[in-house]
Structures are given as C-alpha cells and as structure tokens.
C-alpha cells in the first residue's frame, strides 16, 4: 500500500471525504480515512463513499 493508499485518500478529500482521527467512533474502521490504517489500506468506508458520490460534480477551481 503506502503511496497508493495515500493517493486514493487525498483524492477522496477533493470530493468531501473526511478523516477519522483518534477519538472518532470510526477510528477502528478498516478504511484509509482512519488515521490508524490510512497508509495501510486503500479501502474507502461506506460513509465516505457516499460523501464522494454526493460531491462528485463539485466544482474544482
């Protein structure tokens, strides 16, 4: 993983994906947005997947 996961992670942020830092209820979830697993998996959790779909047509400017 490593760079692959980071690239997916940062790309998702462009479309509204949010991080799960320590203390967040989803911190233990196996997703690249958990700070626990960020570089270890490129999995995107359902909530962030929905956020990305919701913002798919946002303006990039």
């Amino acid at each position: 993983m490593g760079d692959d996961a980071l690239f997916v992670h940062e790309m998702g942020h462009l479309f509204g994906a949010v991080d799960y830092p320590p203390g967040n209820p989803l911190y233990d979830l196996d997703t690249t947005y958990s700070y626990k697993y960020d570089t270890r998996t490129d999995a995107i959790d359902p909530a962030n997947r929905a956020r990305i779909m919701k913002n798919k047509y946002r303006l990039l400017w």
Binding site: G2, D3, D4, L6, F7, V8, E10, M11, H13, L14, F15, T39, D42, I44, R49, I52, M53, K54, N55, K56, Y57, R58, L59, L60, W61
Partner: protein, 186 residues
C-alpha cells in the same frame, strides 16, 4: 404614485424592516439597500480574506459556494455521467531521493487510484505529466508546503495538481517510509 401607495397601506402599518422599505421614499430605499449591500460585501470580503490568509487559498469560501451550488442548481438540474479530470504530478527532491524509481513508480500509483475512481465513482482521471519540483530549504511543515504550492506552483490548466513529498526518518531507523501527502491543489 406615492399617494396611492400610502392610501393602499393606510390601515396597515407594517413594523420594522418592512415598514422601512414600504414607507421609504425612493432615495431612502436606495440608501437602505446600499447599506445592506455594503454590510454583506464587507462580510463576504473579510470572510474570504481571512480564509485566504489562514489556508493559503479560498478554502471555506469555495466550499460554501460549492455547497450552495450543489443544493440549489444541481438539485434543479441534476448532472449525470462521468466526471473527467486532468491531473499533473510533481515530486520534490526528498521524494525523488527516497524513490529512485519515482518516474515509473508514480505513474503506477496514479493508475491504481485512477482505476479505483473510475470503477467506483465514474470519476475518470487522466495524467497529463509528471515533474520534479524543488521544495525550498526549510519548508517542512505539510500545511506550509500546501500553502506554498497553492500560491507558487502553476496548475497549467490541470484540474488537480498532486505534489509528492516525503520525510526522512531520524537516523537509526534507516531510510524512510513512503511518500507523504499528495495535497491536491484545487
């Protein structure tokens, strides 16, 4: 004209702002409108200014406008189909020194992500080019790098500019882990 309006409103005496506007003479109405516009303008200007100062870009300003656009125009006229985005990538000197194969490694990283986004979201990413860039000495903090990149690097028409940097681990643990944030630019 004024008389008729007064007559119609004779028994109804609105209060507050409505009264101000209804009973206002044209010049007074203009004055009130100008004051409202000026206050709004100053508010937006200082919001955007603070935003730009703190984040190095119009971060929240753009987010607010995007959210408004999404929840109004796009609700009325829902967009559909794939989203096509052009991407440029650049790796700094630390990243290049830690990944001697960066010229082949990064396109692979890009392809993997592009496949994910195309398959799962129908967001199609095209890589325009891969460059080297020199990170100025002493610019180490990620937030500062992002600010610098946003202000100094030219996206040259790309929708997304991905900048790769890396941190050298303290001596002892050998060489460092992989690349670090790819702050995409828009």
């Amino acid at each position: 004209m004024e008389l008729t309006a007064r007559g119609a409103l004779g028994r109804f005496r609105p209060k507050g702002t409505i009264a101000l506007l209804r009973n206002a003479s044209p010049s007074r109405f203009k004055r009130v409108r100008n004051v409202v516009l000026a206050v709004l303008g100053i508010f937006l200007f200082s919001f955007a200014g603070t935003d730009y100062y703190l984040r190095g870009q119009l971060y929240y300003t753009k987010r607010v406008i995007n959210a408004l656009y999404r929840d109004t125009w796009q609700v009325a006229f829902p967009p559909s189909g794939p989203v096509k985005l052009y991407v440029r990538m650049a790796a700094d000197q630390t990243y290049r020194s830690l990944h001697a194969d960066w010229k082949t490694h990064l396109p692979d990283v890009f392809d993997a992500a592009a496949n994910r986004f195309a398959g799962e979201f129908d967001i199609r990413l095209t890589l325009l080019n891969l460059d080297a860039w020199e990170r100025p000495e002493g610019l180490d903090d990620y937030a500062d790098i992002l600010k610098y990149v946003l202000r100094k690097l030219d996206r040259r028409g790309a929708d997304v500019f991905v900048v790769m940097t890396a941190k050298e681990m303290p001596a002892g643990s050998g060489t460092a882990a992989g690349g670090t944030p790819a702050p995409p630019s828009p």
